[in-house]
């Protein structure tokens, strides 16, 4: 049961007495996964000195969870967010939560936390009322104390009221403060992690210096999917201080110094076995199409596309592709594990402490309560740190050397090799406009490599059909969730296709979208984007190099406008300007939200223009940042971010939405600049040159 449901299901009548019990060390664990605790004490603790601690199972990836969650608590308890101590991602101390991903923190967790804080506020007020002999209506919270309005010198502090004990009180339906009364929400708040991060004091999992730590370097196969058969460790064992640990096909070289462990690993000779797929980064697209074909099924169908096609006056058929892309977090995967007293403690760079806990427990055949995962500051996630293979490796090794902390820190080559990539994909589209150029008569989409997630947007389509494969293990390489999974692949295809239809019909791309959009929020957002940017309607290609795209992640909407210049001799694309208009409902932390949008635009300039995993069979050819190209400072455009003012009190998450339309806006801008339609992400200089060759001479 969700907290909101719980609050609503409790009888409205309130109890009139309060009691407290000593605050034990036992954490409040929900009875089943997926259930948020009903007791607000699971989230909030008020110490004897009045200091408020907030415990949440999310983690700080850089996205600002630590700050925005503290803001919600501070809002209800009338505190400075700096006065709320955050404990994040500790599976012993924090209530169970979903992974930190999918833009779920503000969508799922925030209402629960705010509800808990609102209830705590109401309980504190009632306790104060009794203690001070004043009606609640005469009391006000400020700076960690409760004051009497009628006697402004009389007050009692949170610490005095609670006396370090647990609040044994529940009040049923407690509404959070109305938006009009909020003083923290919507304000620029200093990031709580700022000082630690600018001084180097912030601790990441690899920064733990537990006494006696051994660094473990693991022998890797040359190709994904292969396993170790045998190994000659004799040369490595001659290195002073080296210790070899084997657990099945896992072989690790241990040493007190990380660099010595790595050098000793290079002395180990292993033989591996396992089939390698006969495919590479050039042939992957046909591979996916062929493999997906037998399992293709219709997942969405509206009307008869064959009938719709007959009504079309302008038809465009195209195939859109994207390559495998790495998460390439600047901090590679790292975990430290220690087996002591029958319990495994794991300090990890993780987006999912509870998933890591369960993965370690399963791998070691331990009950879940014998594993304790503690998230540290995480050096980037983007979907790449959801599963915990590094934690399992560290724990398997640590299980064999009781008491010794074992650090497994992947190096960059391992991080590229072992990452679960954004899946390569192919989207085939056929669609058409009617003679009046105001309606899509048919839209026929078939994907391979991803699902049809977020393929549809609020556009009027007379008939449509979406097909996706049922084959589960389609990919020859390991794939995973990459920020806004499926959505950005599908938006790239959809928004490129709309742009192509508009151009073929001689229509301004904004005008076409205005005719098609069926949702008032999206239409308003389109207007906001176009006005802010200064869009001048004209059918493309205009030569100005301006492109637009729309996208959605759940209820979060984005309109992106890109301006590029294209070097027709080299094929290089330079992003000059990028605007996003974003509607994610209530923006709790405006600066934090802005950072997420700026970051998404910047990151996806790399996605669109340069990032691609090259491979042959199971061998990953990209091993470092010399060939795998992240955007550097010279690639960064002028960035503008505007938020729709919607007046709603509902908050969508913002990690995913701003990612969705970036590549499409850039591709449409390349078309507007040159008349060349780039359909393959990333559109590297080589691919742009190929597209330029297809442009008919005037």
């Amino acid at each position: 049961m969700r907290r909101r449901d719980f609050l609503e299901s409790v009888a409205a009548g309130t109890l009139t007495f309060f009691f407290t019990t000593p605050l034990g060390s036992a954490p409040i664990i929900p009875t089943r996964p997926g259930a948020y605790p009903e007791d607000f004490n699971a989230y909030l603790k008020i110490a004897a000195d009045g200091r408020v601690t907030c415990m949440v199972g999310k983690v700080e990836l850089g996205q600002g969870a630590m700050t925005v969650l503290a803001m919600l608590v501070a809002e209800e308890l009338e505190l400075d967010p700096a006065k709320v101590d955050m404990v994040l991602g500790d599976t012993d101390l924090c209530p169970w939560d979903m992974p930190t991903g999918g833009s779920l923190t503000m969508w799922h967790t925030a209402p629960v936390l705010r509800g808990a804080a609102a209830e705590a506020r109401a309980v504190l007020l009632r306790m104060a009322s009794r203690a001070m002999g004043a009606p609640v209506s005469d009391l006000v919270l400020k700076d960690g104390a409760i004051w009497m309005k009628s006697a402004p010198t009389r007050r009692t502090t949170f610490g005095e009221l609670v006396q370090g004990r647990k609040l044994e009180r529940h009040l049923g339906k407690v509404k959070p403060k109305p938006l009009a009364d909020c003083t923290v929400i919507g304000r620029r708040v200093p990031r709580k992690d700022a000082l630690a991060k600018v001084t180097g004091a912030a601790k990441y999992a690899g920064d733990l210096r537990l006494p006696g730590t051994l660094h473990a370097c693991i022998l890797r196969p040359p190709a994904q999917g292969q396993t170790l058969v045998s190994a000659d460790t004799s040369a490595a064992e001659r290195v002073p201080g080296v210790r070899i640990v084997r657990d099945g096909s896992l072989l690790a070289v241990l040493h007190p110094q990380p660099d010595t462990a790595r050098k000793a690993l290079a002395l180990v000779k292993g033989t591996f076995e396992g089939p390698e797929p006969d495919v590479d980064d050039a042939r992957i697209y046909q591979y996916l199409v062929d493999k997906a074909a037998p399992g293709q099924r219709v997942v969405i169908s509206r009307g008869d596309v064959a009938v719709g096609e007959k009504r079309a006056a302008t038809v465009v058929e195209a195939e859109y592709r994207n390559a495998y892309e790495s998460h390439a977090t600047l901090e590679p995967h790292v975990s430290v594990a220690q087996w002591e007293g029958g319990r495994m403690t794991v300090w990890s760079s993780t987006q999912s402490p509870f998933v890591f806990r369960d993965a370690v427990a399963e791998a070691l055949k331990l009950p879940g309560d014998k594993v304790h995962v503690i998230a540290q500051f995480v050096g980037g996630g983007f979907g790449g740190k959801l599963a915990g293979p590094d934690a399992v490796e560290a724990a398997r090794i640590a299980r064999q050397v009781p008491g010794v902390p074992i650090q497994v820190a992947w190096n960059r080559e391992e991080d590229f090799f072992l990452d679960g990539y954004r899946p390569a994909a192919v989207v085939k589209l056929r669609s058409g406009l009617d003679a009046g150029r105001g309606a899509i008569t048919f839209w026929d989409s078939t994907v391979a490599g991803v699902s049809q997630g977020e393929a549809e947007l609020a556009y009027e389509m007379q008939t449509s059909r979406y097909q996706a494969p049922t084959v589960s293990s389609l990919h020859p390489l390991k794939v995973g969730a990459w920020r806004a999974p499926n959505a950005h692949t599908n938006a790239f295809a959809r928004e490129s296709q709309l742009d192509a239809l508009a151009a073929k019909a001689g229509l301004d791309p904004v005008t076409l979208r205005r005719r098609l959009i069926t949702d008032a929020r999206l239409l308003n957002l389109l207007d906001l984007a176009v006005e802010t940017f200064g869009w001048e309607p004209a059918p493309g290609p205009t030569g100005r190099g301006i492109g637009l795209a729309c996208g959605a992640w759940r209820q979060g909407l984005v309109v992106a406008i890109a301006q590029v210049s294209v070097d027709k001799a080299t094929g290089a694309v330079k992003t000059e300007r990028f605007l996003e208009a974003v509607d994610v409902g209530l923006v709790v932390n405006p600066d934090g939200a802005r950072q997420q949008v700026e970051g998404a635009i910047t990151q996806c300039i790399g996605q669109a223009l340069s990032e691609e995993i090259r491979f042959k069979g199971g061998r990953i050819l990209d091993k470092n940042f010399d060939t795998y190209l992240l955007p550097r400072f010279s690639a960064i455009p002028r960035i503008q971010v505007v938020f729709a003012d919607t007046g709603t009190s509902v908050t969508q998450g913002i990690g995913e939405p701003p990612v969705v339309p970036v590549a499409a806006a850039l591709a449409n801008a390349v078309f507007d600049a040159t008349g060349a339609r780039v359909t393959h992400v990333p559109f590297t200089p080589k691919r742009v040159l190929e597209a330029l060759k297809q442009v008919p001479a005037k």
């Binding site: 600018v198 600047l330 960059r412 970051g599 910047t602 992240l630």
Partner: protein, 158 residues
């Protein structure tokens, strides 16, 4: 092949017993306990491990201990003086010029090395100076803003 290597670290003399070809970053993090300097690529490609050696920004993952013998090494931990942040740190904090923070130490060190020589730098000169440092979260615009404003605070107003 253990050797004794002495250098000045954040203003204080230190001596480490380590092979001269050991990379500086490991000595900093493992022997000397200064973990603010991060390891990102071990190939001088990302800048996360940037420190100053006699005032020059260097990737400590690719700088051998022997190269810094007798020299002065400055890390992120040595920037603030008696709790007062360095102007670059202050600007990064004010501009929220980071997200995950993993590149931040290296960014700040690279910016400090550059601004000391050229506080009146233009935006494009700052871009060029920071080009060797990678940020994956996409804090670039704020980092440039922060470096620009730190330059002004250091008396380099244009």
């Amino acid at each position: 092949m253990k050797a004794t290597v002495s250098f000045v670290l954040n203003g204080k003399p230190v001596t480490v017993e380590s092979p001269r070809d050991r990379m500086l970053v490991w000595a900093l993090r493992d022997e000397l306990g200064l973990t603010g300097t991060k390891v990102g690529c071990e190939a001088g490609l990302c800048g996360a491990c940037t420190v100053l050696v006699d005032g020059e920004a260097m990737p400590s993952c690719s700088t051998a201990l022997g190269e810094v013998a007798g020299k002065s090494v400055l890390t992120i931990e040595g920037l603030a003086v008696e709790g007062k942040l360095n102007p670059v740190q202050e600007a990064f904090k004010e501009h929220h010029a980071f997200q995950c923070g993993y590149c931040t130490s290296g960014m700040i060190m690279a910016a400090w090395a550059f601004l000391k020589k050229k506080p009146k730098a233009t935006r494009s000169e700052i871009v060029e100076a920071m080009e060797g440092n990678l940020c994956r979260c996409g804090a670039h615009v704020r980092i440039l803003d922060a470096v620009e404003s730190a330059g002004k605070a250091m008396g380099g107003a244009r």
